[in-house]
């Protein structure tokens, strides 16, 4: 039996199969409900600040979920999330500047660029694992940063100020529109992560995470899976970056390729739990909300310290994040 068939045809028993289908239906209903709720909120909440803050939090959800596909499921720690995020952001900026493109064109284009970059990175780091892979991803950020600095059309070091096209009238305004788009991206990213988790691809990623050598010996197509993880993660991260220029009307390399964003992308799944799709959501909502609140209530130095302390606390006390902690407590009670 080949690895492919062993992964793809391991059919669950019929009784058990109905439960996942029902759960998928519930998940789809919840996803649609979240989107509908977002649309209703844009019509009922008049204060734009809510959407400025919510955009950042929902963006964190998409970012954490995108990172978790490679870092959590496949076990490849990626410090280069901003390389993909930045590639997406600059793809959006380029298309907006060159063609006045709509955000709906920028999103698939960014996904293609991010996916391609992920494939390239996966191919280039074929034989590299663990800490060496992590270092290689940092190099990717430096390369992308340097590339953008030297492209005058993209504004180089000065950045690029662009006025996005008028949003559809029904959305209520630019920030409400961009929030809805980001909500859609986050829902799509989570749906994709969930599909990976429950499908043969997820089982393959888990085998990679447990031991690449053992998985290879067992016939798991590790190379293809690694490439897939890099490409899917890259595509999601790049899509997350694409709306940035529509949100801020400005883009510049220091922020887009900044270390803070890359660390946040890692911290959120670690805090929430990186083994399943709700983990990054919990981490992102928790960390994103705390950071937004801290930015406007206490000093940012304390905010950064707070993130550091929470991260250290989770790594030491709950290495599998909040979900892992809940699981342990539940098992202990049973």
């Amino acid at each position: 039996m080949t690895a492919k068939t062993s992964l793809m045809t391991a059919a669950p028993p019929p009784a058990a199969a109905r439960a996942p289908e029902a759960r998928t239906l519930v998940f789809c209903a919840c996803a649609l409900a979240v989107l509908a709720l977002g649309a209703v909120l844009t019509q009922t909440i008049a204060n734009p600040y809510v959407f400025f803050a919510a955009f950042i939090i929902v963006q964190q959800v998409a970012l954490a979920t995108g990172w978790n596909v490679l870092g959590g499921y496949a076990g490849y720690i990626n410090f280069g999330a901003t390389a993909f995020y930045g590639a997406g952001a600059y793809t959006g900026a380029f298309l907006l500047k060159a063609y006045g493109a709509s955000i709906f064109l920028c999103l698939p284009a960014a996904a293609l660029v991010g996916g391609g970059l992920g494939l390239l990175m996966g191919y280039m780091t074929l034989r590299v694992q663990g800490v060496y892979f992590a270092i290689a991803t940092i190099a990717l950020v430096v390369m992308m940063h340097t590339l953008v600095l030297n492209i005058d059309y993209l504004g180089g070091a000065s950045g690029l100020a662009l006025m996005p096209p008028e949003p559809p009238a029904w959305t209520g305004g630019q920030v409400q529109f961009v929030f809805l788009v980001m909500l859609g991206i986050a829902v799509l990213a989570v749906a994709c992560a969930r599909w990976i988790e429950i499908s043969w691809v997820g089982r393959g990623f888990r085998a990679l995470r447990a031991s690449e050598e053992a998985a290879e010996c067992a016939g798991v197509p590790t190379f293809r899976l690694k490439l897939s993880a890099c490409a899917i993660s890259g595509a999601i991260l790049a899509m997350t970056g694409a709306p940035l220029v529509f949100y801020a009307s400005f883009i510049e390399p220091e922020t887009v390729f900044g270390l803070a964003l890359a660390l946040n992308a890692i911290a959120m799944p670690l805090i929430g739990g990186k083994k399943s799709w709700p983990g990054p959501i919990i981490g992102a909502v928790l960390l994103g909300s705390v950071q937004q609140a801290a930015t406007i209530t206490i000093s940012s130095e304390l905010n950064i310290l707070l993130v550091g302390v929470v991260l250290i606390g989770f790594v030491a006390a709950a290495p599998d994040g909040i979900l892992g902690l809940v699981d342990t407590l539940r098992k202990g009670r049973q």
């Binding site: 204060n47 734009p48 600040y49 400025f52 803050a53 955009f55 950042i56 340097t146 600095l149 030297n150 180089g156 070091a157 000065s158 950045g159 100020a161 006025m163 630019q174 920030v175 940035l244 949100y247 801020a248 009307s249 400005f250 883009i251 510049e252 220091e254 922020t255 900044g258 803070a260 964003l261 937004q292 930015t295 406007i296 000093s299 940012s300 130095e301 950064i304």
Partner: protein, 422 residues
Amino acid sequence: MTISRRRLGKLAAATGLALAAPAVWTTGRAQNRPIRIGASFSMTGPLSSTKAGLVGLQLWRDDVNAAGGLLGRQVELVTYDDQSTVAQIPSIYSKLVDIDKVDILVSPYGAVLSAPVMPFIKQRGRFMAGMFALAGNDGVKSDRYFHSAPWGPDAKVNWARGFFEVGKAAGCKRIAVLNADVEFAKVSAAGGKTAAKELGQEVVFEQSYPPNTSDFSAILRNLRGATPDAVFVCSYPPDSSALIRGLSEVGIGDSVKLFGGAMVGPQYAATLQALGSSLNGIVNFNLFVPEPTMVTPAVTSFLDRYTAIAVPEKLDALGYYIPPFYYVAGQLIAAAVTATGSTESAAMATWLHANPVKTLVGTATFNELGDWTERRVLMTQFQGIKGNDIEQFRQAGRQVILDPPALKSGELAQPFLKARGA
């Protein structure tokens, strides 16, 4: 039930009073509530050295409140830390306007952080005092944006023009341009090349370098080979320090008469103290220096009060570059609010476009983009610096103003090598 006419009258009066009371009460409250000024400051992150500006704005607030406030209302500052990050700016300014309901906005520091807020103020029609954003309004062209710093009109090209004017007077024809690969430095270098061309000078050497370059020996040797008359340097604090140290170690050649121009760093006390006498001879930009042609009792009083706060809080000990211009931003706001009798953005902007304002650093008049109509960027030369004592920079004659002519306080010391004490 019957009701007498007198009782009906009393009831009607009571009902009217009850209905009118909230409106009277809230109007009264609105008239008495403080005027709120909203801003973001880079309290953390790479631009945190600019947070000394907050002291300038606080001193202005204290002065205004001590004098009875604006329109009889006290002034209150609402500020947030933007962490030197562009991504924070849209939500912070939305919060200032939509949640905190500030009356007037002051921009974040510099062109990069200001860029995301420019479309916002244009869309909302808000008045904003701009802080150090070189040509910050050239893209959006808001008629309600006013620079507190005197970069002058067409700032991208002309803000450092004084360097080339001084060079022309000193006979410099061959110009070398050296710049860091960062926003301010690239914009300055491009503007410098245009200004040099307009003054009939030839650019014979151009080199950009990655940010945080620490060893300039190879670049300086290459530069020496081009035998320029003047070297226009556009750098940020770490590379400014490294370049000046490299200059002392590697040298620059006999041909050079002028070195500097757009180096960020030698405006701050920490850099001045660290570099000390190695600054001698360098000609660089500034916005305020304590020369007799600039010092007034008002500035002296401001700087004394600033120093009393800044030194214990370990902020920039001199405070010449940024804090006075936050005070100026406050003065612009105060003048417009007082003259128009309101905090209404359109009225304030119309008044500022039409009237000059006397500020701490001179009289400001504005063009249609909110630039000062007259460029007042200083080109100063470090002279007679001994050792690393910071107090010497408070004395006149240490940063001699060469340009603009109206503020000139001394002559260019040349040749360059002699001016450096080599």
